[in-house]
């Protein structure tokens, strides 16, 4: 059982999520699962010709969904009040992403905590950053 979110002090880091290397299969599953059929993420010919990229890239929203896993691993889904991110970098095939979270603050007068969240590619290259507000019991 994960340590309860209410036990974290501001500034404390949450358990990171170390993800396996991104495969084409994962992108194909996310294409079908999310309904985002943008061929930039699954069709290397399209990525090269139309996208001017060397290969397909990961969906930004896949990175956000993986970041959400850090949160749903710590708290039930209904506890999540808000979640916002800024997409900073592209994810490339075979990159192993890491999701990191830090408790930023406890919001006064409620059990809510604000969490700063980041998704990083190898060598610490920033993929996205953002924040979440979660209710704690």
């Amino acid at each position: 059982m994960a340590r309860p979110l209410s036990s974290y002090a501001p500034g404390e880091m949450l358990p990171s999520l170390e993800l396996p290397p991104l495969t084409r299969h994962m992108l194909a599953l996310y294409c079908g699962g999310s309904g985002d059929h943008n061929p930039l993420h699954t069709d290397i010919d399209f990525a090269r010709e139309a996208g001017h990229l060397p290969d397909v890239i990961g969906h930004g929203m896949l990175s956000m969904a993986l970041a959400a896993r850090l949160l749903t691993d710590l708290a039930p889904p209904e506890a999540l009040r808000a979640f916002e991110v800024r997409f900073v970098g592209m994810t490339h095939i075979h990159e192993a992403l890491t999701v990191e979270g830090v408790v930023e603050e406890r919001l006064a007068g409620s059990g809510r905590v604000k969490i700063a969240i980041k998704v990083l590619a190898p060598e610490g290259r920033l993929i996205l950053n953002g924040q979440a507000i979660i209710d704690t019991p």
């Binding site: 599953l29 999310s34 985002d36 943008n38 930039l40 969904a65 993986l66 979640f83």
Partner: protein, 148 residues
Amino acid sequence: MINRDFIGLPIGPFEVTAEAGQIRLFAKATGQTNPIFFDDKAARAAGYRAIVAPPTFVHSLQHIGQRDPFALFAQLGVKLEDTLHGTQSFTYSELVCAGDVIRFQGAVSDIYAKKNGALEFFVQDILASNQLGREVARIQSTTIVVSR
């Protein structure tokens, strides 16, 4: 340049059912392991109405609920391959569970440029509500358009 007259352009309304199989595939694709995202019995035993959708699935429903989710891009005169997802935010009120009928309604709330027009941005603000008439989430996304 995107015509600024498109600020205020309505998005929707449209409705889509959150299907159990679609939620399961989304949960698998995003590496979820909690049975509440996969199994109806486990979800009910944990006190939910049905299989629970992971937090960002409500964005997927916008794709699933439209015949051409990128029609807005064409309407704005933007090529899909020239776009990047800039920001995404959700403010949540209610969970989405399997069988829910989610209604989306919103608008293009802003269009602006940076770097002397080399980058343009359009913002979509959308309210998702469920079949009980309750607010599910407020969703905002920013799309970046790169000039080539």
